[in-house]
């Protein structure tokens, strides 16, 4: 029986986690894998491109309407592009309640319904690890291979470094199964961006898993409510996502990260900014 791969994509808000996750899931599915993508963000838009623009009902919507006992698998898992099965955790309205606790409750529902059954599960997790709830996929062993998405901008590196702190902290528990699998560079066009991200990855005891250049085709695909893999499968950008899928399904080196001190991180970013 093939080992289930449980991958989580973390990174600063707006850095392109959902775009990366959706295209990664599409590339994996097109290569013949059975893929489940779970959006863990109250914004609920992780799977939107896989669902051709449709915002699917979220697990939390259903819990709110029906309680957590009367939900069926068909109500929360939706087939998307290339057969990727899509789930959105959802959450409370902005400004009320506890979204972190919502993530925990979502996983309890998914577990009970046997939804977490796939060859590859891709978790797309909200911006930063803002509280224990958002670290839950890592803490409870749902997500075992963590990828950090970052650009060369200081704030994106800062968020990635923070998440590596969470992974390092969780790894102190001997039972912890979560490890850092790599850093994905999502270009914003800063000077020496690829090299900067590669060096950052190395400094936190990891490696650059992929570098996705900036390309207008991503925007065009999203405007057409598709992933790049569907909208422009022959494009160079689609090739980059396929390359990432190859890396992910290979044998990534899983490490316990060594987060950087903030001063060192600023110094590193500055050294590239000034050439």
């Amino acid at each position: 029986m093939m080992k289930m791969r449980q991958i989580a994509i973390y990174g600063k808000g707006g850095i392109g986690k959902s775009t990366t996750s959706a295209n990664l899931s599409a590339a994996l599915a097109l290569s013949g894998r059975r893929v489940l993508q779970i959006g863990c963000d109250p914004k609920r838009d992780s799977t939107r491109m896989l669902m051709h623009g449709r915002l699917i009902p979220t697990v939390m919507d259903l819990v709110r309407e029906k309680g957590d006992r009367d939900i069926s698998l068909e109500e929360i898992v939706f087939p998307g592009f290339a057969g990727v099965r899509c789930v959105e955790a959802g959450g409370p309205e902005p400004g009320i309640g506890c979204a972190g606790r919502g993530i925990i409750a979502t996983f309890q529902v998914l577990e009970r319904l046997g939804a977490l059954d796939s060859e590859i599960i891709v978790y797309d997790v909200l911006g930063d690890v803002v509280c224990g709830g958002f670290a839950m996929p890592m803490r409870e062993g749902y997500a075992r291979e963590i990828y950090l998405v970052t650009s060369g901008e200081l704030m994106a590196l800062y968020a990635a470094n923070n998440i590596s702190k969470a992974i390092e902290r969780l790894s102190r528990n001997k039972k912890s199964l979560c490890r850092l699998a790599g850093v994905i560079g999502n270009a914003r066009g800063t000077p020496g961006e690829r090299e900067l991200i590669a060096e950052f990855a190395s400094r936190i005891n990891s490696s650059l898993a992929a570098f996705i250049p900036r390309d207008p085709v991503v925007q065009q695909a999203e405007l057409n409510r598709m992933t790049v893999l569907e909208f422009s499968p022959e494009s160079a950008q689609a090739g980059h996502y396929r390359e990432l899928a190859g890396t992910v399904t290979g044998e990534p080196v899983l490490t316990i990260p060594t987060p950087m001190e903030i001063g060192d991180l600023e110094e590193l970013a500055l050294s590239y900014a000034t050439g």
């Binding site: 409370p92 009320i96 506890c98 919502g102």
Partner: protein, 343 residues
């Protein structure tokens, strides 16, 4: 924590702020206290108060309810559940409704004042103490006293009477303590017009604002005392009196604040104290020792041992002192009676 805990930092005053607030709000006659939190937050207090009331011959279930937060409300916010609970509380026709926020309600950012609308059926007083976020038991007591005092009307020109502030409603003999203070006030020709808060009708808030003097139960309610002083220009004595000289000092200070002859009252009390000590002559020359007790209790115990002629040594039986120390000359009599049984 220091080696010898004072009354204020001993574990008696550490604990749940919700319980502290409830210990005040449940003592308002006809009030209903609604805890915005999971059932457990109110259950614990109801059980405690119910047992205490049964012991005191006051049967009946305390009027405490819960918004019954569960995981669903934690995720999506608990204000709708609180609104529903509040609506059902109105059906009990309370004299006043208190809403007290628990740890989790404050953690998820629920604002309990949201449910207090323009509805004038019954006064609704939010106490956003937030469980551990607001501090310990004493913080809950102070916050509840202050929130309630804020509803008192403006003080009249002519003031009269004495207000007793912050009685410990979970104390088994709270009423005995109060009666002693009431007796001492009568020596000054004064009457206690309001017990803020014990068996107090909501309407009696008017007596709080019009009082001439506040007597605080002890230093754990000093924040409430400061509020009353700032708001109503109400002078206060910081604690119920304890010990022989402490009780006489209390009378003198109260007399000064009230503009009456405290010295004469203290002298009269001294005569009573001599009588009391005389009835415990058999203790003279007996040997006892003190166990680990708070500093204030130790000072009280030393004075009593000294005045009654008990020798304090290393091998006598342990002479215990209740915490808090019982008030006034009646408290002295009570402790000496206890010691006589031991010795």
């Amino acid at each position: 924590m220091p080696a010898i805990p004072t009354r204020c930092d001993s574990v008696r005053h550490v604990g749940c702020a919700v319980s502290g607030a409830l210990s005040v709000t449940t003592a308002v006659e006809g009030a209903f206290s609604l805890v915005h939190g999971p059932d457990g937050c109110s259950h614990q207090f109801i059980s405690l108060l119910h047992s205490l009331q049964m012991d005191q011959g006051r049967p009946g279930i305390p009027r405490v309810g819960s918004s019954r937060l569960s995981e669903r409300e934690i995720i999506f916010g608990g204000i709708p559940a609180l609104s529903r609970a509040l609506e059902s509380v109105f059906r009990h026709h309370p004299s006043v409704i208190f809403i007290i926020s628990s740890c989790i309600a404050e953690t998820i950012g629920d604002d309990i004042s949201e449910v207090v609308g323009d509805d004038s059926r019954v006064p609704v007083i939010p106490i956003p103490i937030g469980g551990f976020i607001g501090g310990g038991f004493a913080s809950g007591v102070n916050e509840a006293l202050i929130r309630l005092a804020a509803r008192a009307p403006a003080p009249p020109r002519e003031k009269s009477g004495v207000a007793v502030i912050g009685e410990k409603n979970l104390e088994f003999d709270a009423d005995a303590q109060y009666l002693e203070v009431k007796r001492l006030m009568s020596l000054l020709g004064q009457s206690v017009t309001v017990r803020f808060v014990r068996s107090m009708p909501y309407e009696s808030l008017v007596d709080l604002a019009s009082a001439r003097l506040a007597v605080l139960r002890d230093s754990s309610v000093q924040h409430a005392g400061k509020y009353l002083s700032d708001t109503f220009k109400l002078p206060s004595l910081p604690a119920f009196p304890t010990g022989l000289s402490g009780t006489r000092d209390f009378l003198e200070k109260a007399g000064n604040l009230l503009g009456c002859d405290g010295k004469a009252a203290a002298e009269k009390e001294h005569e009573l104290q001599e009588e009391v000590l005389g009835s415990f002559r058999s203790l003279k020359g007996k040997k006892g020792r003190f166990g680990p007790i708070p500093y204030e209790s130790l000072l009280f115990a030393k004075e009593l041992a000294n005045c009654s002629g008990i020798r304090i040594g290393g091998d006598g039986p342990v002479l215990s002192v209740p915490d808090p120390v019982p008030a006034g000359t009646a408290g002295v009599r009570r402790v000496l009676s206890h010691w006589r049984r031991i010795l």
